[in-house]
């Protein structure tokens, strides 16, 4: 622990069960808080909508990736076999497009898959080995069996006292400060 109290990042409430957390999250959102996030050891569908989070960018990214991959795959083959060095291979036409389909397909999948993974990481802002939440010792349980709700200081309604009170009212196991 440090001598001078470091700047505050937000408040963290710890719950025992997913149900309590979801309920608390809904309440918090209802209370008008927006800069909130929840932390759980496994995905809980209801949570994201409970904290008012809806995203659909990723699917689009993957689609674009796939299309680019397909075009690249076929383009490469067509250019190499029909344009830059057209050779008579077994009497087949230089543009033997049926033979080019398998690779076109593979490239589509490859690019789409890369887009999916890299897109996810990028949107989630990972890698992010440091995060203020890690400063809270009990936060280690977020990857085990505890469920956390966080309200960030950046939230317009945030006041150290009031928000603390509010969170307490959701009767969590405990509420702790998150240092910057």
């Amino acid at each position: 622990m440090k001598q001078i109290a470091p700047p505050l990042y937000g408040l963290l409430a710890e719950f025992d069960t997913p149900n309590e957390l979801v309920r608390a999250a809904r309440a918090t959102y209802a209370a008008g808080y927006r800069r909130i996030d929840a932390f759980t050891p496994f995905p809980i569908e209801e949570l994201s909508e409970a904290i008012g989070f809806a995203q659909n960018k990723l699917a689009l990214i993957v689609l674009i990736g796939g299309i680019l991959g397909g075009l690249f795959g076929f383009g490469l083959q067509y250019w190499a076999s029909a344009i830059t060095y057209p050779i008579n291979v077994g009497g087949r036409p230089t543009n033997s497009w049926p033979a080019f389909i398998p690779i076109t397909f593979e490239m589509t999948v490859l690019f789409a898959a890369l887009a999916a993974v890299l897109g996810m990481l990028a949107l989630n802002g990972l890698p992010q080995p440091y995060h203020p939440a890690f400063n809270v010792p009990r936060f280690a349980l977020a990857s085990n069996d505890r469920f956390f709700l966080m309200i960030a200081k950046a939230d317009p309604l945030f006041t150290h006292q009031g928000t603390h009170e509010f969170l307490k009212s959701l009767n969590p196991r405990e509420v702790s400060d998150i240092d910057e």
Partner: protein, 1052 residues
């Protein structure tokens, strides 16, 4: 061909004779232009590397004797350091070096690993050197080959040749189209002789009891010895040579006999055919020999004469015989009745194959003769009566245009009968003519040999000079030649190899290869042919002429001087001009021996008194001895190309065997069981006993072998042939007797528990009912010319979804006339020589990894045990227009050229072997290991600089001799004209004695190949696959006698 002749005229002709007799022969190690080899695995040893090896020779030849030089490669392989090295590098290979048989392969393996060094840096080229001439011979243009005419002396007549020389290295043998003996064809022996020239194991120094001596000390020593002989007219002096055909050599021997009046000269070779000699003596009173004109013969009876097998004196016969049967040539086809005592190419190509025991041949002959009205009537076996009747009828119906030929191996009586029959049929003078023998002094060889051995045993012989041959190995066992030899005080042997005979002689003088020396010889009809050297002796070889000169105190005479001097004294060649012309052409025009028809004395005992048939003991076999189809009498035992060349009928390599008929095999419970690695066959070993002598031999089951007959091939079982030839096969001479050298009765066969593994390149001999070789009769062909496509309509051109690829300009193609192919395999060896194809050794053949670019498939037709014949199908790359191999290559290492050839780009190949898998013809060959010999320097001189030498891990195959195509195109382009038809001749085509192979531009309707492909007989192999081969075949036609059971044309 034409092109070559031109080149000889305007380049070789004048220069050759620029400086009197001081011929400018390329001498290795002296100002030869070179660019040393790059370490590039593919290229090393190619055109540059080859000449770089000249340097290696420079080092070795200077001062040192070649022997020491070779110590580095061969004898090193015995030293402790070597074994240590092996134990370190190749733990699993230790046993190999002990066994000389597999050492070759081991050296290759070692090469493979060493070559790895080069692989690391492929693109990066290290510093190389250029070594120009100091004084450039005018005729040599760097990179342009020259062609010289010469001739290869062979028993029974020389093979006339043109030899290609690159920067002074002879690299390829071609036929001499002008020469009457062959009209351009060559055989396997002359093709392979180029490898013999560079054989690192040829003896390389004069030795006395193994110690290296100088030529001069040899001369000094024998002078002393001969001085003693002279005192008593040389009655202790004997000379043993092979039958001497060279007029000059004959003259020299005569001179020698003048000097030593009491000396005696004997001649012997394994191929000795005393039967024919005695018969001629008997019925004509003089030792004449027949020449047959197959081009005139409509009906042919062969009495066990294998006249279609590959051998110099047969090349002309092959050409005439096949030409007569070529429907396109418009001749009336002949009909061949082939009596044979073992399956031969002649029988395979005949219209009626008549297998029988050797002892029955004479009976059969007498039967036919009697029916024709010659000789005493004889009772004939029931089985043959119909055949004899029909044959006789057929022959009589063609008086003057029929032909009876007896095999060299037949006894005098059969020859006499044949002569007599030809006389009676009025063939003498038309289809058969007689000339004086080619030999200077023809003798009954075996009688002579007996006499010599007797003298030696009685210690009458004090000095024996053996010129050539290898009598210790080749003499029939009953003479015990070697034993007798021991009792001669001074024994001198002049030969190419340090072999069995040399090991029994005091002095051994290395013989100069025929490509290294001047000589002369006769061929076929006696035409005088000049042997012209292509290169100065690689080692310290001396010609027979030089050795004899030394003996008759003319040791300072060179071969050239001796030969030239002799011909100066002769009418035809006394002028310089005529001599030049003869050397340039390779032979003297109109120098054939006078020929005429002779009629046999009907009263001859051979005709009248039937030789009594001694009843052989029951359950014994008859045995016949034959020269080996590929290594002849053993003189080519150390020639890898010939060892690995599949034998015409059996497709065996690296071995001989005792042939049994399928039925005999069943009775004796002999088995040939196919192994699991592709080319390996495990067979039973039998013990053969003849007249008390025993040998062990692997038993091979050969369809078409007559029941009760065992056939043994001579030439194998050499004990001092060299690393390639030693300990391959067994030595049949060990049970051979002078009394019955070729055919004997009373052979006892005992089966043993031993098994032996043989290497075979074709393991299935039936076509499984697929029409791979179309065969029919002339009559049927006349009635339905289009019979092939009637039964199998050709695949339509517009079958494919894709448009056909257009081929404007040249479109190269090949046509192979199966009706002409006699299966002699000359094409295979020619291809091997032209395209730097490596030898892989027996183990690799057993793993089905032989490398021949053109193979000869042999299928038996008719029933399994006793086929009515066999067909031969040469299979090179088909250069399919829709090539299956190309589509599956991931790196485009095999693709089509604009002219329709299926190019194999070695340097792009990564070796997936998918192309070979997808090749329906399986003509692709893969370098599974480093097969090319990179260790023997001399073999690099052998390589064709126009063809990349392939390395390990690379696919290769027939290229249609792309190097010849490109060079011809470049020449034509420079002259702004199109390539003329026939200007490009592939190696296989030029070698073929039967003109069965034709190459050319199929887009040119007037080209020979286009005309052939237009023939109704033309078909493409596996046409239903729609691969559209550029190589197509013309079907086989037979001309059976309708009166006899027609030969089955469908293939079982």
């Amino acid at each position: 061909m034409q092109q070559k002749k031109d080149r000889m005229n305007d380049e070789v002709g004048p220069i050759q004779f620029g400086s009197g007799n001081g011929f400018s022969l390329p001498v290795l190690g002296q100002d030869t232009p070179t660019t040393p080899e790059s370490p590039d695995p593919i290229a090393a040893g190619s055109r540059d590397a080859a000449s770089s090896e000249v340097l290696a020779f420079q080092k070795s030849v200077e001062g040192k004797s070649g022997k020491q030089y070779w110590r580095s490669i061969d004898e090193w392989a015995g030293t402790p350091e070597f074994e240590a090295y092996v134990k370190r590098e190749y733990p699993s290979q230790v046993e190999v070096i002990v066994d000389p048989f597999s050492r070759r392969r081991f050296l290759q393996l070692m090469g493979a690993s060493l070559a790895l060094a080069g692989f690391s840096s492929c693109a990066y080229q290290p510093k190389e050197e250029l070594l120009p001439y100091v004084r450039q011979p005018e005729e040599i243009v760097a990179g342009k080959p020259l062609y010289f005419a010469t001739a290869m002396p062979m028993s029974g007549g020389a093979a006339p040749l043109l030899v290609r020389s690159n920067e002074g290295r002879p690299t390829k043998i071609e036929g001499n189209p002008e020469h009457p003996a062959t009209l351009g064809g060559t055989d396997i022996f002359s093709q392979a002789s180029i490898l013999g020239l560079y054989d690192p194991e040829r003896s390389q120094a004069v030795t006395y009891t193994g110690e290296i001596h100088s030529w001069s000390s040899f001369i000094g020593e024998i002078r002393v010895a001969l001085g003693v002989e002279k005192s008593n007219g040389g009655q202790g002096l004997r000379i043993l040579t092979e039958p001497v055909i060279s007029p000059t050599l004959g003259k020299q021997i005569m001179d020698l006999l003048k000097l030593y009046p009491n000396a005696t000269w004997y001649q012997y070779e394994s191929a000795a055919s005393d039967g024919a000699f005695q018969a001629a003596q008997e019925v004509f009173g003089e030792p004449v020999r027949p020449i047959y004109h197959f081009e005139k013969a409509d009906r042919i009876l062969s009495l066990d004469a294998d006249f279609l097998a590959s051998h110099p004196k047969n090349l002309r016969y092959i050409k005439d015989y096949t030409k007569k049967r070529n429907p396109e040539a418009g001749n009336t086809p002949n009909r061949l009745y082939a009596v044979e005592t073992t399956a031969t190419a002649t029988g395979g190509n005949s219209d009626h194959r008549i297998p029988m025991k050797p002892s029955e041949v004479e009976m059969f002959a007498r039967g036919v003769a009697a029916a024709i009205g010659v000789g005493a009537a004889a009772e004939v076996p029931e089985a043959f009566s119909l055949m004899i009747e029909e044959v006789a009828k057929d022959l009589k119906a063609h008086r003057g245009s029929s032909l009876v030929i007896a095999g060299d191996e037949q006894p005098a009586a059969v020859h006499a009968l044949a002569y007599a029959m030809n006389g009676a049929l009025g063939n003498a003078g038309s289809t058969v003519v007689f000339t004086k023998p080619l030999e200077v002094n023809p003798v009954a060889q075996l009688n002579g040999l007996r006499e010599l051995v007797a003298d030696m045993q009685q210690r009458k012989v004090t000095t024996l000079i053996i010129l050539g041959g290898n009598p210790v190995y080749a003499a029939p066992a009953d003479l015990n030649f070697a034993g007798a030899l021991e009792s001669v005080q001074l024994r001198i042997y002049h030969g190419l190899y340090n072999d069995e005979t040399s090991s029994y002689c005091h002095w051994h003088v290395p013989e100069a290869h025929y490509l290294e020396t001047w000589s002369d010889t006769r061929a076929y009809d006696g035409t005088i042919s000049i042997v012209q050297p292509l290169i100065a002796p690689l080692y310290q070889g001396k010609s027979k002429h030089e050795v004899l000169a030394a003996i008759i105190d003319q040791s300072d005479h060179t071969s050239y001087e001796i030969v030239r001097a002799y011909w100066k004294s002769q009418g035809a060649l006394n002028t310089e001009a005529s001599w030049r012309q003869a050397v340039h052409d390779g032979f003297l025009k109109e120098s054939a021996l006078p020929a005429g028809g002779l009629t046999a004395k009907q009263t001859s005992g051979l005709l009248t008194n039937v030789t009594p048939q001694q009843q052989p003991a029951s359950n014994t076999f008859e045995v016949n001895f034959r020269l080996d189809p590929t290594i002849h009498d053993g003189q080519f035992a150390n020639n890898g190309w010939l060892q690995e060349l599949p034998k015409t009928m059996t497709k065996l390599t690296w071995d001989n065997a005792a042939f049994f008929s399928p039925r005999d095999a069943r009775n004796l419970r002999l088995e040939n069981s196919m192994g699991s690695s592709g080319g390996d066959f495990e067979v039973d070993v039998v013990e053969l006993e003849l007249a008390g002598r025993k040998i062990k031999a692997p038993a091979w089951i050969l369809p078409g072998q007559p029941d009760g007959v065992v056939t043994l091939h001579l030439g194998y079982g050499r004990t001092r042939a060299g690393h390639v030839g030693t300990a391959t096969g067994f030595n049949a001479n060990l049970i051979r007797n002078t009394g019955t050298p070729w055919n004997a009765t009373g052979l006892i066969v005992r089966s043993t528990a031993e098994r032996y593994v043989m290497a075979q390149t074709q393991t299935h001999h039936s076509m499984e009912g697929w029409n791979l070789v179309h065969e029919t009769t002339f009559d049927e062909y006349r009635e339905h010319p289009d019979y092939i496509h009637e039964e199998e309509p050709p695949t339509p051109r517009d079958l494919s979804l894709f448009p056909n690829w257009p081929y404007n300009g040249y479109a190269w193609g090949l046509a192979i006339d199966l009706n002409s192919c006699v299966g002699c395999s000359a094409c295979t060896v020619a291809c091997q020589s032209e395209n730097n194809i490596p030898v892989v050794g027996k183990e690799q053949v057993m793993m089905s990894r032989e490398m021949h670019w053109i193979r000869i498939d042999r299928y038996f037709t008719g029933s399994g045990d006793n086929p009515n014949g066999s067909v031969f199908q040469p299979v090179p790359c088909m250069h399919c227009e829709n090539a299956p191999c190309e589509v599956v290559c991931p790196v485009g290492a095999t693709v089509h050229s604009a002219e329709g050839t299926n190019d194999m780009v070695y340097n792009r190949c990564v070796g997936t072997r998918y192309c070979s898998n997808n090749c329906p013809y399986k003509v692709r060959r893969f370098n599974f290991l480093l097969f090319n010999d990179w260790t023997s320097a001399s073999l690099k001189l052998l390589r064709n600089p126009e063809v990349t030498v392939r390395s390990r891990g690379i696919m290769e195959k027939c290229t249609y001799c792309i190097q010849r195509i490109q060079n011809a195109k470049i020449e034509s382009e420079k002259e702004n004209r199109l390539v003329r038809d026939g200007e490009i001749v592939t190696a296989c085509q030029s070698a073929c004695p039967a003109d069965a192979i034709t190459f050319g531009n199929i887009n040119d309707p007037n080209s020979k190949v286009a005309k052939l492909k237009a023939s109704k007989r033309n078909y493409s192999l596996l046409d239903d696959l729609n691969t559209r081969p550029r190589t197509t075949y013309l079907s086989v036609l037979r001309n059976p006698n309708p009166a006899l059971k027609p030969t089955k044309t469908e293939n079982a």
